[in-house]
Structures are given as structure tokens and as C-alpha cells.
């Protein structure tokens, strides 16, 4: 297992290098001078020159890339990822600061998705062709087609505008941020803020996952070993939960790893709608203000997350399926 993880990590290195080249190229090729923001009449030209030399902008492109890439991976240095153009803070610190909120949001959304989607998909499969199945399948098909930002917009409208109106202000979901003023660290307040963004992120993934779970379960229910389990005279409960479900969960478990990149992307939009102080909203801010060091760092983090997600999926697969050996 350890050798497998090591081998996969080594295999990931060229891909990470590839990603860094693509990302660097986009930034390098971007029209406009990165120093343009400093060229005001108040800043003397010598200072601009110094800036260009300090950032190495006068050197050839491959040197620029190598110097950026070689410092980038020294994550133990607080200044490895450079400094934000906007605030002057070390990017590494800025990014790390945003990690917990994103993990909290993604983790909660993933948890809600798993807890809801697996029973729902299983129910639909066990009652295939019934009214329950048709309602679940239709609902999930339609829900799956709704873009996440629409769900977010409606969730925001419903929770922060319509519901307070209907209940005369008794129920009002917060529309932005992670915490209310003055209630820092209050878990209830945090939960209250989590509800709408988590709902937004999980509604669509519940639709997708329950469809997946349904087809996985249906697939397994038609397998010979399920028939064997019935022929052995096992109670229905044992046939479904021990023999069918255990196998139906195998592809679902790998979905957890594979859904991580999607969650990061979904989080960018959801975090922006609800102004959640996570990585996604930081990226949207940084792109909008052309804060290149932050953009570069976050894109690399995103790429590594995709690779890590894939690796996680394969490791989980090996853990739940005895047929897989590393």
C-alpha cells in the first residue's frame, strides 16, 4: 500500500509540472503589464525598474518559470508563494487562512450528500418501477440539470428574503459570511451560516449521487451472488444490506475522491454567492483584481487537489474491494 501511494505520487509529479506550465503560460501570455497598477505619476520610473528586476520580469520566460516553480514547492518557507499584489501579505498565509472554511463547507456538503443520497438511491432501486422510484428518478433528473448558481440564488432568496417575510422575521437565514458580528466561535451561529451554502452545494450532488446509487444498486441486485444469497435462504434484510449494499457502495466510495475537484469548483460559485471566506471566493476575487501570485497559487492548489482526489478514490477503492491489490 505504502509503495503504491509512493508510486502514484511519483507518477503525479510530471502531471503537476504540466499543470504548472499551463498555469504559468496563461499568466505569462495574459495581455497587459503586471506592473501597470504601479505606474502612477507619483511612482518614479526607477522604482518601477527596480520592481521589474525584483520580480525578475526582465529575464527570459523559461528562467522566470524555473525560478517561480522552484520556489513554489518550498512550502516550508512562508514566502514561497510570493506576496499578494493587492494586500502585500504572503500568499501562502493568505491561502492557508482560507483552507478551513472551504474544508468545513465541502465536508459538510459531502456528508449531507452521502447521508441523503445513498438511502434515497437505494430506496428507488429496491422499488424499481414503483411510484416512489419514478418520483425520485424524475426529481433527481430535473434537479441535476439545475446549475449550482441558480440553486444558490434561489436558496438565498428563499432563506434570506422570502422566509423572513412569511414568518415575520422569526426565521431569517444569514445571507453572507461565516459568522455574525460578535459571535465569533459560536458553533450554533456557524451552523446557522452553513445551512444555505451547504444546501446549495448538496442539492445537486444529492441528485447526481442518488441516480448513481440507484443504478449501482440495480446492477448489483441482478448479480448472480445476490441470487445465491436468496437461494441460501438468507433473510431479505441480510440479502440487501450484507450482500447487495456492500457491493453497490464500491463505486460510490470512489465517487467521494472523484467529487473533490467538482466540489472545489462548485464552492467557487457558492462561496461567492454567500461570501463564504473560502478558497473559491478568494480565487474569484484574485482573478478579478489580477492578483497573479494568488491566482497562480490557488490554481496549483486546485490541480493538486484534483490529483489527490483521484489518488484518494483509488485508495478507497482498494480498501473496499478485496479484488483490488496494489
Amino acid at each position: 500500500m505504502a509503495t503504491y501511494i509512493l508510486r502514484r505520487t511519483l507518477q503525479a509529479i510530471p502531471i503537476i509540472i504540466g499543470i504548472s506550465v499551463v498555469v504559468f503560460a496563461i499568466v505569462y501570455l495574459a495581455p497587459g503589464d503586471p506592473t501597470a497598477r504601479f505606474r502612477t505619476p507619483k511612482v518614479p520610473p526607477e522604482q518601477i525598474e527596480a520592481l521589474i528586476r525584483a520580480y525578475g520580469l526582465d529575464r527570459p520566460v523559461h528562467e522566470q518559470y524555473i525560478s517561480w516553480a522552484s520556489t513554489f514547492f518550498q512550502v516550508w518557507n512562508p514566502d514561497a508563494w510570493g506576496y499578494s499584489f493587492l494586500s502585500g501579505d504572503p500568499v501562502l498565509e493568505k491561502v492557508l487562512y482560507r483552507v478551513p472554511p472551504t474544508l468545513l463547507l465541502m465536508g459538510s456538503a459531502l456528508l449531507v450528500t452521502i447521508v441523503v443520497a445513498i438511502p434515497v438511491g437505494m430506496l428507488a432501486a429496491l422499488r424499481q418501477y414503483s411510484l416512489t422510484d419514478k418520483v425520485i428518478t424524475t426529481l433527481s433528473t430535473f434537479t441535476y440539470a439545475i446549475p449550482s448558481f441558480l440553486v444558490g440564488a434561489y436558496a438565498l432568496y428563499f432563506g434570506a428574503v422570502l422566509l423572513p417575510e412569511l414568518t415575520n422575521g422569526a426565521i431569517k437565514f444569514p445571507s453572507f459570511g461565516m459568522e455574525s458580528l460578535g459571535s465569533r466561535g459560536d458553533p450554533l451561529d456557524l451552523l446557522w451560516h452553513l445551512i444555505l451554502p451547504v444546501l446549495t452545494l448538496s442539492v445537486i450532488s444529492i441528485a447526481g449521487w442518488s441516480r448513481y446509487m440507484r443504478s449501482s444498486m440495480l446492477d448489483v441486485l441482478h448479480q448472480d451472488y445476490v441470487r445465491t444469497a436468496k437461494a441460501k435462504g438468507l433473510p431479505r434484510r441480510a440479502v440487501i444490506y450484507q450482500h447487495a449494499l456492500r457491493n453497490a457502495l464500491i463505486p460510490i466510495v470512489t465517487l467521494i475522491g472523484l467529487s473533490i475537484p467538482g466540489l472545489i469548483a462548485g464552492a467557487a460559485i457558492t462561496e461567492t454567492i454567500f461570501t463564504w471566506p473560502g478558497l473559491g471566493s478568494l480565487f474569484v476575487e484574485a482573478v478579478g483584481t489580477r492578483d497573479y501570485p494568488v491566482v497562480l497559487a490557488l490554481t496549483m492548489v486546485g490541480g493538486v487537489a484534483v490529483i489527490a482526489g483521484n489518488l484518494l478514490a483509488d485508495i478507497l477503492y482498494g480498501l473496499v474491494d478485496p479484488r483490488i491489490r496494489y
Binding site: 448472480d224 451472488y225 445465491t228 437461494a231 435462504g233 431479505r236
Partner: protein, 341 residues
């Protein structure tokens, strides 16, 4: 061994069993009025080409038919009770306990995520009040019985770590772990190598003998029937077309279909220019011909065959579903050459 009716010795009696499958294009009568009986300790062979309803018959006995299939009618009498009329918990008590079943595909019939030992122990625990440790002990004992070397270690292995023949042995161990009265074996060796096939049949025959267990053996191979069975039922397109004791059916087949099946077995020491095959295929179950279902492949087909023939009692426990038998004896002719076009 001949067909004297020994009424009170009957273990399982299937009467007028009908199983249908609802498809988008209509209802398929997969099993259409099948009747037969198995005596205690006896082996009944069911033979026929693929798609003739053999497996569906076997699955229907244990009510393992899944939607879109359903058992439409008939009865399956087992120890004085109708299996088809039992409650869900009653039939569960019969499955794997008094009637056990082994399947065609040992590769897929075992659950890939559990060890072989666990899957056997689970069966024992479902039907006997034993502790987990006792059930595991029984599993190892059964694996040893079916000739798996180093059974204690093998029990801890997963199905994918075993060969096809080994897996079928595990299936047999699982089936016999509860000492059933009847074993239903649905083409147990079709998926295996020829050399392994013989070993598995030998094993089944030996264990069956030792335990005085009755068996319903389903196969498409009349050679296997000749080796293993006492009585035989020949099925075609969901119906029984001939039945009787093996020796007389093999030496003196009545129904043209049985003759065709026999003619297609190569025999040692017999010089033939060509191996006879039955021309054509089993008719599309959605579009069965009117009258005799074998009519369009039959070299003896006559005008009257457009009327469905009934099962004619030939005496001595034998019967045949053919107008030739209803009207006398079929003429002994070889299949015409033209049939091989």
C-alpha cells in the same frame, strides 16, 4: 429403476408449473405447464437446448424468479406442502436448508467481498442455531469434504483467489452444509474446463450417494444425463416433450426432438460421415408456431402437427408429446440430408 409408481416415496412433485416473463413486446411463456416428480434419493435430469426453460423451471421451484418474470400457476409439492403457496418466511426456511441450489456460473455466484468460509458459515447460521465459531468450523469441514486442500486457510480466501473449479466446489460445500434433501444443480459444470467438469461430477455423484440426497440436474448434455440420472425430462420451448427412465429413453427415444439430441452426441466406435445436428433454432418465445412447437424443425412434420399435441402416456412411466405416439409408433427414419442446407 424402471417407472413403477412409488407414490409415497415422492420427495418433490411439480404439477403444471407455468412461469411467464413480461417483456415490452409481450408475455413470454418460459415454462408452460411442466410436471414431473423426484423420488427420495433419486436423480432427475432435465435436458434441452439453451432457452428451453430448464433454468427457469429450477428457479421457479424455489421461487427465485425476479421481475419481470412471475410464476403464473401450478404447484410444487414438497413434503406435503406447496412451495408456491408458502409464506415468504416459510419458503426461506426451505431454501438453502432442505432444498439447496448450485448455479452455472461459479465465477459470479459467490459474493466477491466476503471470504468463502464466511459465505458458507452464513448459510449454516441462517438455518441452524449455532455460534459463529461453530458455523465457521462447519464451513472448514465442508470445504475439506469437497476436496479443497488446506481448507482452514482456503476458507479465509476471497472467491477471486480461487479457480473456477475451486469456486464450484465452494458452492457445493455451501449447498451441502445444511444436509438438504434435494440439490438443484443448474448446469454446474458448463462454465468449467472439460477435465474439471468430470471431477465436479464425480464429486457430486459421490456426495449424493453418501448422503442419499435427491438431485435435480439441469444440463444440455444428454451424455451427462446418461452418467448421472435415473430419470430424465426432455424440455423444448417451455414444455416437457418426453420423459421416462434414462435407460429406456436413451435406447428407445420416442419424440423426434429427443432423437435429434441423441443423434448429436458423438459416439466412440461408431463410424459416421457426419455428426447429426438438429436444423434450425429454438423458436422465438414471443412468436411460437401454432400447433406442435417443434413442428418447424421436425423431419416428420405432418398436417396434424398444426394442432398442439398432448403428452401421451406410453406406459412404464414414459410419455411423449408427439402425434406419432398418439397415433401409434414413429417410423424409424434417419434425418433427411436436405435438412442440413
Amino acid at each position: 429403476m424402471s417407472g413403477d409408481p412409488v407414490g409415497n416415496d415422492i420427495l418433490l412433485s411439480v404439477r403444471d408449473l407455468r412461469t411467464a416473463f413480461d417483456t415490452m413486446d409481450g408475455t413470454v411463456k418460459a415454462v408452460d405447464g411442466v410436471s414431473f416428480a423426484i423420488r427420495r434419493g433419486e436423480t432427475l435430469g432435465v435436458v434441452g437446448e439453451s432457452g428451453c426453460g430448464k433454468s427457469v423451471t429450477a428457479l421457479s421451484i424455489l421461487r427465485l424468479i425476479e421481475r419481470p418474470g412471475r410464476i403464473v400457476g401450478g404447484s410444487v409439492d414438497f413434503g406435503g406442502r406447496d412451495l408456491l403457496a408458502m409464506s415468504e418466511s416459510e419458503i426461506r426456511d426451505v431454501r438453502g436448508n432442505r432444498i439447496a441450489m448450485i448455479f452455472q456460473e461459479p465465477m459470479t455466484s459467490l459474493n466477491p467481498v466476503y471470504t468463502c468460509g464466511r459465505q458458507i458459515a452464513e448459510t449454516v447460521q441462517a438455518h441452524r442455531s449455532v455460534s459463529r465459531a461453530e458455523a465457521w468450523e462447519k464451513a472448514v469441514e465442508m470445504l475439506d469434504l469437497v476436496g479443497i486442500p488446506d481448507a482452514g486457510r482456503r476458507a479465509k480466501q476471497f472467491p477471486h483467489q480461487m479457480s473456477g473449479g475451486m469456486r464450484q466446489r465452494v458452492m457445493i460445500a455451501m449447498a451441502l452444509s445444511t444436509d438438504p434433501d434435494l440439490l438443484i444443480a443448474d448446469e454446474p459444470t458448463t462454465a468449467l474446463d472439460v477435465t474439471i467438469q468430470a471431477q465436479i461430477f464425480e464429486l457430486i455423484a459421490r456426495l449424493r450417494e453418501e448422503r442419499r440426497m435427491a438431485m435435480l440436474l439441469i444440463t444440455h448434455d444428454l451424455g451427462v444425463i446418461a452418467e448421472m440420472a435415473d430419470d430424465v425430462v426432455v424440455m423444448y420451448a417451455g414444455q416437457v416433450v418426453e420423459q421416462g427412465d434414462v435407460r429406456s429413453v436413451m435406447t428407445d427415444p420416442h419424440h423426434p426432438y429427443t432423437r435429434g439430441l441423441l443423434a448429436s452426441i458423438p459416439r466412440i466406435g461408431e463410424r459416421r460421415h457426419r455428426l447429426e445436428v438438429i436444423p434450425g433454432v429454438v423458436p422465438n418465445p414471443l412468436n411460437l408456431p401454432a400447433g406442435c412447437l417443434f413442428r418447424r424443425r421436425c423431419p416428420y412434420a405432418m398436417e396434424i402437427c398444426e394442432t398442439p399435441p398432448h403428452l401421451t402416456d406410453l406406459g412404464g412411466g414414459r410419455s411423449s408429446r408427439c402425434w406419432l405416439d398418439a397415433e401409434g409408433r414413429a417410423p424409424e427414419v434417419t434425418l433427411p440430408e436436405a435438412a442440413h442446407g
